[in-house]
């Protein structure tokens, strides 16, 4: 037995020798070298997501780098940084950080500038409450037929007239919802005129606004121009790009159209109004629109909160942007409190009388 064990021990020793043969000085040095490099490299990508100062700096830089209307405002963003930096330290809680961000964003009075956090949405959230609504809740008494197509679109026929009515409640949603616009216009194609009510429509996707406009375009038309923030400086922008309305193979409606607007007509809805300005048969009636021409950009902060920032400028054919000012209607009109209490929609009535001449 002993004799038989010797070769096994010898073999085991030999295996061990082979197994550890790579542990020579050079290979150990090599392994140590790689380990050191790995350790150094880790510092390069170590995140500090729980560091409030890091999050604060990132927040400030994202706004500084991407916001497109600094040149329109008399606002010292650097000074706002230093004022608020004093509140931030390593022990700053998330709620304090969130409230600080909300306060900083409120300085802009731009409803496209918001922070989305686990505490909710903040920054300019009371923007619309400063305006009169110029809209009544129940307008169905004006119609002989009134129907909802989906959650975004409603249509009807104005009683005792040959006028159609379309209400677009929002431009937020899937494209398929707005493709129904073609069917609605087809139903109203024999009317003398159409009233498109976008009061209270706070926007959504510009592509959906464009989709809804296609039934009223018979040739390619340049509506306005837009450009994006593109660089570190507040004046850095891309080249102006034409925003074109294109002819489609949908039902074309050529009669007169009135668009009803109020201060809650914002963002993509205002783009819809701006597109209509390029077409000869549109008239806008109501209040000035909300004044948000910028296309919002979403950015992520290091802690996962979302920051929404206006990132573009727009130039109407007259050379002006409607950011902050809104689009002034062709026929300005407001609903008085008395009219509102009596369920009289003065703006709708004026549109009816305009189209039903």
């Amino acid at each position: 037995m002993k004799e038989n064990n010797f070769p096994n021990i010898h073999r085991a020793c030999k295996k061990k020798t082979i197994a550890f043969s790579f542990l020579n000085k050079k290979n150990v040095s090599l392994a140590v070298f790689i380990f050191l490099l790995y350790s150094c490299s880790k510092d390069l990508y170590e995140d500090n997501i729980n560091n409030p100062s890091n999050i604060f700096n990132s927040f400030w830089e994202e706004v500084d780098r991407n916001y497109s209307f600094f040149t329109y405002l008399d606002l010292d963003w650097d000074s706002i940084y230093y004022t608020n930096l004093e509140k931030i330290n390593i022990n700053t809680s998330d709620s304090v950080l969130y409230n600080t961000f909300c306060g900083m964003l409120n300085c802009f009075n731009d409803a496209h500038l918001n922070i989305y956090s686990s505490f909710g949405t903040g920054g300019n959230i009371s923007y619309f409450s400063q305006f009169q609504s110029n809209q009544i809740d129940d307008i169905e008494s004006y119609f002989s037929i009134y129907s909802s197509v989906n959650k975004c679109l409603q249509y009807g026929f104005i009683e005792n007239t040959n006028l159609g009515y379309i209400r677009i409640k929002t431009f937020e949603g899937e494209t398929s919802l707005f493709e129904k616009m073609d069917s609605v216009v087809d139903l109203l194609k024999n009317t003398k005129g159409i009233i498109i009510d976008i009061r209270g429509n706070k926007g959504g996707l510009i592509s959906n606004a464009n989709l809804c406009m296609q039934n009223f375009v018979d040739s390619t038309t340049s509506a306005f121009q837009y450009r994006y923030r593109d660089g570190k400086e507040h004046e850095d922008f891309s080249k102006w790009e034409d925003y074109r309305l294109k002819q489609s193979n949908k039902t074309y409606y050529s009669n007169n159209i009135a668009i009803l607007t109020n201060r809650m007509t914002y963002s993509a809805s205002e783009w819809f109004v701006a597109m209509s300005k390029a077409l000869p048969n549109f008239t806008t009636i109501g209040d000035t629109t909300g004044g948000g021409s910028g296309i919002p950009l979403l950015r992520e902060l290091p802690n996962g909160w979302i920051l929404r920032i206006s990132n573009s400028q727009l130039k109407l054919p007259d050379g002006n942007d409607f950011q902050f000012t809104g689009l002034y209607p062709d026929i300005p009109l407001w609903i008085t409190t008395e009219e509102s209490n009596n369920n009289i929609d003065e703006i709708l009535e004026r549109a009816i009388s305009l189209l039903n001449y």
Binding site: Y38, S41, N66, Y116, T121, Y228
Partner: protein, 267 residues
């Protein structure tokens, strides 16, 4: 714009090297190195997160040294993979990942123009170095209903021709090379923020331009050091920098296994 890219280890599964060398005849080397690359990326144009993951990579190179003192170098390299963010609270995202794609080709031709000594020579030549890099972040953040989409960031250079200069110093067990080339006639597309956002109607289109040398303003300098450690192992270190990027790479090779470590930072 800051991009930090860290290559920790490249483990090469296969390395084919073929060298022929005879007196007064040309010599060529072929190198094929597919591998798995542990990659850590942070692109501040996209967001503040660091994305990591193991991604496949390949480097294919050919060196041809002519007996009449000129040499030709071709190198193709590419990475493609999916990376995931570090330290991000999963409760904030339904999904969040980055697809990273990198392809580069390098053609260099050099001709010996001056010899300081037998082991110390100066070459003049030309370089053609197109590349294509795309970072695409796909994400869905649950804090905001519209925060679903993707961001895209890229740099592309389709055509360039660059006058080049090379200095080589050979010792018995090590070589030292300095390469410099200045980009001329660039047909390229640099990203601006139009291309990275997830906005509706924001076209993710490529806009190429011819850049004059002054506009492109890209002077590339590479320092390379090679040392034979043992009969079968070697160390190869390169430092490459230009006006926008600095890259460091060390390659320690033992027979057919190699370890890479690299860092690149874009300004």
């Amino acid at each position: 714009m800051h991009i930090t890219k860290v290559y920790i280890i490249l483990f090469i599964f296969l390395s084919i090297e073929r060298i022929t060398a005879q007196e007064n005849k040309s010599k060529y080397e072929i190198l094929l190195t597919p591998g798995i690359n542990f990659c850590a990326l942070r692109n501040e144009s996209i967001n503040d997160y660091t994305y990591t993951g193991y991604i496949p990579s390949i480097v294919f190179g050919i060196n041809i040294h002519s007996y009449n003192t000129s040499y030709f170098h071709i190198e193709f390299s590419g990475n493609y993979g999916k990376l995931h963010p570090l330290y991000i609270n999963n409760t904030l995202y339904s999904y969040n990942y980055m697809k990273y794609k990198y392809i580069s080709v390098l053609f260099q031709y050099f001709k010996e123009t001056f010899s300081f000594s037998k082991n110390s020579k100066l070459y003049l030549g030309i370089t053609y170095s197109p590349y294509y890099t795309v970072y695409s972040q796909y994400y869905s953040n649950i804090l905001y209903s519209s925060a679903t989409g993707y961001r895209k960031f890229y740099t592309k250079n389709i055509f360039n021709l660059s006058p080049s200069l090379s200095f080589k110093q050979n010792w018995e067990k090590c070589h030292f090379t300095i390469n410099a080339y200045f980009n001329f006639f660039n047909y390229a597309s640099y990203p601006d923020d139009n291309y990275i956002k997830q906005l509706e109607d924001a076209k993710s289109s490529t806009q190429y331009h011819w850049y004059t040398p002054k506009e492109y303003n890209m002077l590339n300098i590479s320092l390379a050091f090679y040392r034979k450690l043992t009969k079968y192992s070697s160390l190869f270190t390169t430092l490459h920098f230009n006006n926008k990027t600095i890259q460091y790479k060390t390659d320690i090779r033992n027979q057919r296994i190699a370890f890479y470590f690299g860092i690149s930072k874009q300004f």
